[in-house]
Symmetry: C3
Subunit: 281 residues, 3 copies
């Protein structure tokens, strides 16, 4: 039995996640389902894709990743099963799976889900998690053939997201907000090596700029060394730069949202180029 | 081992659900528990009953449904075990189980839970989920006899809820709000066939009225075809009519709450009769 | 396979809990993990310790308790594995585990987690739940030796919390707020026996005082006997006194927070001594 790793934007207030678990249990009794998270912001495909891609490296071998962030449910977007590494990915063709299949080593085979022997019948217009994706994940978890789910698809035909990048120049790193957690910690697309490339990795004081706002921030390793209320730049547990305010909300302090551009640099070195060049500046 | 499907209004912020899981695990090691939802609004028996009844059709065969929405905990209300179809239902005698036993094909046998060999001892006055219902569900999940839990009860003696209905006349459907999800989507008691009976199932534009408010709404199949901010009537994944506002909050837009009456009809055909006849109009 | 009982302040909005589940599953396939709660208020070690200690008595035999409320993650605080009764406790050395090991009968053996054969590598500075505690819990769940995790530690060297106490004098009980649930119910450090010792256990009307506020409260057994909007003192399911307002919020009504002192007594008997003696009065 393969483990199923389940991510969605369904939340836990309603019964959507529980119903998917029941559907899985019907065709894969005692299936082994791990809920990665159901707290992806509603309809936020980019965030869901990022969380999934960052998580695949921690998953048990041979997992079936069931991922549903699906604002286009019921429209003509395809339903996908993708084989990547030793794993399968199941979800809508809206880019949600695309960063994860790269993290797993690239697409081996891809299929459009079409078989009515694998999905529930009838298929509702609004809940493909229950009617299509959960049953297909259960089918794959029990070891049945991926070829049963539908028709092969040319990998290049699937929708892909561009993973947000980051650039370094001496004194400054420019990057993008790729996540905000419930504490207001801001995850950035830049990694520790970007600080190194910008030759600011040994500074103890940094400056963070976004459209119209600047903030002094310490360079810290952990929350514990940041004084209460102070801002800091840390390398988070995914190896990415993060802006934090100890016991405060960094996203609120800088007015930051998903996808916003951010510059991290030496004191006095950020902001100007940012305001000139940024597409949103 | 029978699967246990667990629904409650305990929420996940506190330890109530986790403690029930532990109690189940003590008497049914490696029990197979599926959390349907713990987000039923506090004390909302009608909503819990509806969610449970809509879900039973997706459950694995032979499930034990453990349901706890129990504002009368510690009072004289009875504790029940009900056999319906191939399944068991365990919970308080306040109507919570009654729509589900109908959905499962009706009551076969019913028991008042009384045996102190099955429940924890002592029984607290405020947490029967832990002390009574979870241990009984675990007992049934392991295949032990239902007769062990207590004394047979005449099914007619159990409290029942009336499932909210809907009525059609030419041009209009009158129904009731039976659920509001975290996105503000409003689930109605009417089904697709009520639109057909009212001869408005082919209209592309509908009107929705509630006490003192009117709203134009498109007839849509999916969220994807509703423009951002526009209202629509869809048939949701339970086969029921639902009012949605794409990326907005339909319940807030119409000031709707659980149990409120709603009329869906042809443009210009709702509201007047509504205001005349509605018990709350 | 030992069951793992998992408590944290990670919340369920983000992927932290799911990633820990995946890490457990990698080294302990089909591990049996029960989520006690992940809703401990952020960084609230005292509350986490209390919830864990109150729950251990309901856990299946031989459980591994994985507990992470860890504001000092990445600092010099030690990582612990503690054997107590037939169980193991895994978490940070900040007092979080200390009330639970007392509840389990005291420490048998204690270890500092140090082995890089048991933890993930590299260890991040901010997510020891994933990198240290979850892998160690999985190691113990599979039955491997506790001596593998690191170096023995003298139990007296571990940080301990003082469980908040309560005192009785004729007519009054003085105690501390040890928990507030999502409904605003206030859990107190006093137990039913304190009312008895104060000779107020047969009163039907009590008075509750905190810094500058007084409230009349009925003595009730259950929520069901408290009129809507009325305040009451009940003995909750953990055997502790609790202040509740039926369908209201007792914590808000009295302006109470964690750790605040509270006096419960006969009408007219509280408040004065409170204001004179209380450290916060």
């Amino acid at each position: 039995m393969r483990p199923i790793v389940f991510l969605s934007d369904y939340g836990l207030e309603d019964e959507f996640v529980g119903v998917c678990h029941m559907v899985i249990a019907r065709s894969a009794p005692r299936a082994w389902v791990i809920d990665l998270t159901h707290g992806v912001p509603r309809g936020d495909i980019a965030r869901g894709a990022q969380v999934l891609a960052d998580a695949v490296g921690y998953a048990p071998a041979g997992a079936v990743f069931l991922a549903v962030v699906d604002p286009g449910v019921g429209t003509k977007r395809l339903s996908l099963t993708v084989e990547a590494g030793e794993s399968f990915l199941v979800g809508p063709d809206n880019g949600l799976l695309s960063l994860a299949w790269d993290a797993l080593g690239g697409v081996k085979r891809a299929y459009v889900i079409e078989s009515d022997r694998v999905t529930l019948q009838p298929i509702s217009a609004t809940f493909h998690g229950r009617d299509i994706f959960a049953p297909v994940a259960a089918h794959l978890a029990t070891g049945l053939s991926v070829a049963d789910v539908g028709t092969p698809l040319e990998p290049m035909q699937m929708k892909r997201l561009q993973a947000p990048g980051a650039t370094s120049e001496p004194g400054s790193v420019r990057c993008t907000v790729i996540g905000i957690d419930r504490f207001g910690n801001v995850q950035l697309s830049a990694r520790a090596e970007h600080l190194h490339q910008a030759r600011i990795d040994s500074l103890t004081e940094l400056e963070v700029s976004t459209s119209g706002k600047h903030l002094s921030a310490r360079r810290a390793q952990t929350f514990g060394e940041v004084p209460t209320g102070a801002a800091a730049v840390i390398v988070n547990s995914n190896g990415r730069l993060a802006l934090v305010v100890n016991t405060g909300n960094a996203a609120a302090a800088l007015g930051l949202g998903m996808g916003d551009p951010v510059e991290v640099g030496a004191p006095g070195r950020t902001g100007e180029s940012f305001l000139k060049d940024s597409p949103t500046g």
